[in-house]
Structure formats: C-alpha cells, structure tokens
C-alpha cells in the first residue's frame, strides 16, 4: 500500500525535525561526569530498581566523543572546572547538559573559595535537577523533561 494513502503530500519533509527529535530522545547516550555524593543517587537511578534504561538512557558512554548528554553529577570545584569545560568542548553536536544536584545548579550550600557557583558559569545547561541529592523519582522526571525538550528542538541544519 503506498504511503501517500496515509500522509498528505510533503509531510515527510516537514516532520523531519519531529522524527529526529523522536529518534534522539529515546536514545540518549549520557556521559556521567560523576564527582560527588550525587553519584550515589545516580547509581541508584541507573541500577535495576529505578532503571534509567526504561527511558532509553541506560547506557553510559565514557567517551565524550560518543555521548550526547553530559550529566554533571556532583559538586564542581575550581580545580575540576577546566576539565569539565574541556569535556564539553570535546562532545559532538547535538549535545545537552544536565545539572544534576543543587551544587551544579547554584553551588548549593558550598559557598566558598573552592566551589564553582553553578556550572552555568562555565558551560550552557539545558536542564537543572535540584536536590541534595535529588531523589531518583526526581531524576526520572527530569529525564522526561529533557526528552520533551529534545523533541521540541529544531534541527541545526534547518536553523542555519
């Protein structure tokens, strides 16, 4: 049966962004930049009880070249900040950044000489998940919100 019976003419072209977004949002390859306490909660979320895999984001890639979602999990100090920035620069487009935990969002209660006051001062952030550390349910909700954001994103080729 020809496809034209179902979709109007030209629909494939206009829906390309939607199709790309759909494909991307269910195959998030995350790079866990795990530094601190939030890593324990990230571990819980990724393991079998909460199971990040249900949302297509279960497989961590430990190479920034292969990842498209940088999960910054835990406090970022000034000493590690250049490393984070470098890893962000190494990731290929399209890429998203998740600030996991309140330390990465604002610095949390670590307002001191050693801690970066929010990673948005060094890399752009797509999604903030506050909490110290956020509970796994909250992480999952954040992931769903990220998926919505990815779905709505227009492709770079078209925008340029």
């Amino acid at each position: 049966m020809p496809i034209d019976d179902y979709v109007p003419e030209g629909a494939i072209a206009t829906k390309l962004d939607a199709a790309l977004g759909w494909a991307r949002k269910y195959s998030i390859f995350q790079y866990p930049f795990v530094t601190a306490c939030c890593g324990m909660e990230f571990m819980s979320t990724a393991a079998s009880h909460y199971d990040l895999d249900r949302f297509g984001a279960g497989f961590p890639r430990f190479s920034p070249r292969q990842a498209d979602c940088l999960m910054v999990v835990g406090t970022i100090s000034h000493k590690i900040a250049p490393v984070l920035r470098r890893i962000y620069d190494q990731m290929a487009e399209p890429k998203w950044v998740v600030a996991f935990g309140v330390c990465t969002c604002t610095g949390g209660f670590y307002n001191n000489y050693a801690t970066v006051q929010g990673i948005d001062t060094i890399v752009p952030v797509d999604l903030y998940i506050p909490g110290c550390p956020p509970r796994p349910e909250m992480v999952l909700q954040g992931l769903v919100m990220l998926q919505e954001k990815i779905q709505k994103q227009r492709s770079r080729a078209k925008a340029s």
Binding site: H78, K79, A81, N111, N112, T121, V123
Partner: protein
C-alpha cells in the same frame, strides 16, 4: 569545665615541644614503640590572639600487630610562630607524613624542610594564599576559568560569559 582528655583514650597523653625539638621528640617516640602516625594537623589561633600563632598537632599510636590492640596514644603539640613557620619534616620516620605535610602547607602555609619540594595537596598550584588560615575569607574565589569573580553574572546566559580556558 570538664577534663575530656582523661576519659578519652583516642586522644591520649598530651605533650608539647618547641619547633626545633619536634623532630627529635617524634623520633624518640617512634623508638619507644609509637609506630603509627595517625594524624597530623594544625590550628590557627589568630582569632584567639595567642602568641605563637599556629599549633601543629601530631597524633601517634602504639599498635600491637598481632592482637590489633591500641597500646596507647600520644599527641604532640608544637607551637609554631607566624614569622618563621617552618618545621623539620618527619617524612623519614613515616612516609605518610609526605601527604599530611603537604596538606598542612596547602591549608596553613606552614613549611617543612628536609624533604623533597613541597607542593599543594588539595588546592591547585595557581591558588594564592592558604585557605584555612583565619584571615582568609571563606568566599574569596580564585577561579581557573569562568567569570573572574567566580560569581554568577547577572544574566546567566552562556553567551555573555565566554570563559577563557586555560590548560597546563
């Protein structure tokens, strides 16, 4: 006021030494069987206005290898003046002193001689000052990248920040 040290076996007997005699005191203690350097730290008494500003605390333990019993502890307090904050390193007695001395240097600026070049343990090399001194403000930032003040800009959008990345 209560006397907590007596009822506290972890703390052990308190001794004091002058900086020039500290190494000999430690060596003598080691010869007497205090075989583990449990901890080494410093206290900055600037806010209390005490005369020798720093006090370095060595904490030793006499551990029995076969029974695992702690046969006694001792803590050695060494008062270090602000003008010449240098001690003789006890790296030759316990190799762990390497990192502990580096931490004390990093946090308090108390130097150690008779050891390989001392460098910071926790902070980065570019950091100026010693953060656990009482006169270092808690929020005085020296970021490596990002906005120079380390604070969030008014409009926290990435395009306005443009961090300059410095690599080694």
């Amino acid at each position: 006021m209560s006397e907590p040290a007596a009822a506290n076996p972890c703390q052990g007997e308190r001794r004091e030494a002058v900086p020039s005699a500290a190494f000999d005191a430690l060596r003598e203690l080691k010869e007497r069987g205090y075989n583990v350097l449990i901890d080494m730290t410093a206290v900055d008494y600037l806010a209390q206005g005490r005369e020798p500003r720093f006090e370095v605390v060595y904490r030793l333990m006499k551990l029995d290898l076969s029974s695992g019993e702690d046969r006694g502890r001792v803590e050695l307090h060494v008062k270090v003046p602000e003008g010449a904050p240098v001690l003789r390193s006890c790296l030759s007695l316990w190799p762990i002193a390497d990192w502990l001395e580096r931490e004390v240097w990093d946090m308090f600026g108390i130097g150690f001689v008779d050891r390989p070049k001392i460098k910071r343990l926790l902070m980065y090399e570019e950091f100026k000052g010693h953060p656990l001194r009482k006169d270092y403000p808690i929020a005085k930032r020296q970021p490596l990248i990002g906005p120079a003040s380390g604070e969030r800009p008014d409009n926290p959008s990435f395009n306005t920040v443009r961090p300059a990345v410095k690599y080694e």
